[in-house]
């Protein structure tokens, strides 16, 4: 099957504003690499999860797919068409197919507009429906996300975090998109509501045939919903595999560390020794060699000298680690 989204070598660098002389003094201009040669494919109808710590570049990647930020280089193809070279008119049309649900339901809705206005504006701008038809469509959208029709006359401040997230989802659905990038859609809502929002997204995917790119900072949220999981570290994808495979057989020490860090249902079960040490390094001065080496229990001198390439382990399992054989070895895994 041809992928819905293809990303090739996507790179994003920001110049950093330092002291006022930095631009003048030689060698002081610094750049932050948010994305470094990212490749990935998203198949139609799948739930693709992108996991990583803050600063790993996962949000930037999600935004770059929609061209909310302009990548420095690389390619993003949507149904084979290059998104990064689209002109303004084509891009506007493409945005009916590519939508986004944001992380913070408290800042993602314009506080000055009623819910009906927020949704109605989308229908108006894209010429989807006007007047009575638009009102009917707004009611339909609210119903789709489990909100009553009266919600249309209220302002975002009258709703709880979970309800606001539903409104954000309804707004993304208003254009009837093919793919929704959900940037940590549940990390800012109460734990009791997280499952409801995740279930809503799953339900919508079934009913509307959506493709989802789910961005998350821990594996536990995406464990039971994903078809495929990619793990990011400092702007690079370090492991990318079908969900069942990655959870059964993680081959990057960072992936294993993330799994060990997830809260467990059996607290007395033996802990994985692969727990990650320390904080992620600054993306302004990544360590030489493999970016993960300072925090890795498996690292040796080779890891500190050269960056590992993304290796294919057969099937569709890829990993960026010299030591993937030892990481996957069950004899060593619990040492």
């Amino acid at each position: 099957m041809t992928p819905l989204i293809e990303v090739r070598g996507l790179t994003m660098r920001y110049p950093i504003q330092g002291g006022f002389m930095d631009g003048v003094l030689p060698g002081r201009r610094r750049t932050l690499t948010a994305l470094d040669g990212v490749d990935l494919d998203i198949a139609p109808g799948e739930i693709f999860s992108l996991v990583g710590e803050s600063g790993s570049g996962k949000t930037t990647l999600g935004r770059a797919l929609l061209r909310l930020v302009e990548p420095t280089s690389g390619e993003v193809r949507f149904r084979g068409e290059d998104v990064l070279s689209m002109g303004p008119a084509r891009l506007r049309a493409a945005r009916r197919d590519l939508q986004m649900v944001f992380q913070d339901p408290w800042s993602s809705l314009n506080p000055r507009l009623t819910v009906g206005q927020i949704l109605g504006e989308v229908l108006h701008v894209h010429d989807i429906a006007r007047g009575a038809a638009a009102k009917a469509r707004v009611r339909e959208l609210l119903d789709l996300v489990g909100l009553p029709p009266e919600a249309a006359d209220r302002y975002p401040r009258h709703f709880s975090g979970g309800q606001r997230q539903r409104i954000g989802i309804a707004r993304a659905l208003a254009v009837d998109p093919e793919i929704i990038v959900a940037d940590e859609p549940v990390s800012a809502v109460d734990v009791s509501v997280q499952a409801q929002i995740m279930n809503l997204l799953l339900d919508l995917r079934e009913r509307l045939g959506l493709t989802l790119l789910m961005i998350a900072h821990d594996l536990s949220v995406v464990r039971y919903v994903s078809d495929r999981v990619a793990v990011m570290y400092l702007g690079r994808i370090v492991e990318n595999a079908p969900a069942a495979e990655i959870f059964a057989n993680p081959r990057h020490p960072y992936t294993r560390g993330l799994m060990a860090a997830a809260p467990r249902t059996r607290p007395n079960a033996r802990r994985d020794s692969a727990a990650i040490i320390g904080e992620p390094p600054s993306p302004l001065s990544p360590p030489p060699g493999c970016a993960f080496n300072p925090r890795c229990g498996f690292a040796d001198n080779g890891c500190r000298e050269r960056p590992p390439p993304l290796e294919d382990l057969g099937g569709t399992h890829q990993v960026r680690c010299f030591k993937h054989a030892s990481v996957g070895d069950p004899a060593l895994a619990s040492s």
Binding site: L91, M100, Q103, S107, S108, N110, L113, R154, S160, A174
Partner: protein, 294 residues
């Protein structure tokens, strides 16, 4: 997935409508300043508009036989050196002074909001150009710049508008730019971009309504300063030419008679104080109310 659950936790709408009776009484209880200020300003505006009905005298016609009369029942505020009734001149002057004061806040507010909005939203070269200009304008003391501009353009109301707009816009630009920079990064603006909305739509419908309140709050505190500045400029002879009455020119004319006819200087001065107090009360009240609403 429980749709019923989501529906039942919707809070009911408890806020009374803004136009409702309950709202006003709540204001009287909590916002004495706002109400007192509004009542005082309304009274001043009403008296100045009704001036021809209230006063039997003309503000400009001279009556030299009755010059320099102290306050009495026939001339409440006394008369000036040309025999003109000072009370009449004070209430006619209110029309001019309030209009100039209001417009001298309004024009800089509009100009500053537009330029600050462009600087913040467009960024890059626009931002640099506009904000360096703001810095330049901010570096001049307010009155010095106003006097300088009027000196170039010649005295008059139009010059006053231009001068005070040039002297006052930069603060508004600064406030709006800072607010726009915050709003521009908000997720609702990102969402609007993701939905393919035009820049004009995003600016006017999503950014501007969310950044305008702080500028109104600032304008409310600025208005007193501006009214005082316009009377100061008039006092310095840079406002309306005589014989049209404004409080500043009346005080300027009266200053040579301060020891013989105290009422010529003092009573127009009291009018300025009264307007200053009512605008302070009103402005603070509005500012507090807007802050609370944010």
């Amino acid at each position: 997935m429980t749709e019923e659950h989501a529906a039942s936790t919707l809070p009911s709408r408890r806020l009374p409508s803004l136009m409702g009776r309950g709202r006003l009484s709540a204001l009287v209880g909590q916002r004495t300043a706002l109400v007192a200020g509004a009542v005082m300003i309304s009274a001043i505006v009403l008296v100045s508009v009704m001036a021809p009905v209230i006063s039997p005298y003309d503000p400009v016609d001279q009556d030299l036989r009755n010059a320099l009369q102290p306050p009495s029942w026939t001339h409440l505020f006394g008369t000036d050196n040309f025999g003109r009734d000072i009370f009449t001149r004070v209430i006619y002057a209110a029309q001019v002074d309030l209009r100039i004061g209001f417009l001298c806040v309004f024009f800089p507010w509009v100009l500053g909001t537009i330029l600050g909005g462009i600087a913040g939203y467009a960024g890059g070269v626009f931002d640099t150009l506009i904000m360096r200009t703001v810095d330049t304008f901010t570096a001049f003391p307010f009155l010095v710049m106003a006097i300088g501009v009027i000196a170039i353009l010649g005295p008059g109301v139009t010059s006053m508008y231009i001068a005070l707009t040039l002297a006052g816009w930069s603060m508004y630009a600064r406030i709006v730019r800072a607010e726009v920079l915050v709003a521009k990064r908000s997720e609702y603006v990102l969402a609007a971009r993701a939905l393919g909305f035009s820049h004009t739509r995003i600016m006017l419908r999503h950014v501007l309504p969310n950044v305008i309140t702080p500028t109104i709050i600032f304008a409310m505190t600025d208005i007193v300063l501006v009214i005082l500045s316009t009377t100061t400029l008039a006092f310095l002879g840079l406002g309306l030419p005589p014989p049209a009455p404004t409080w500043g020119t009346m005080i300027a004319e009266g200053k040579s008679f301060i020891f013989t006819a105290w009422w010529m200087v003092t009573l127009p001065g009291l009018a300025i104080v009264l307007v200053g107090i009512s605008l302070s009360l009103f402005g603070d009240g509005v500012a507090d109310w807007l802050r609370e609403r944010e």
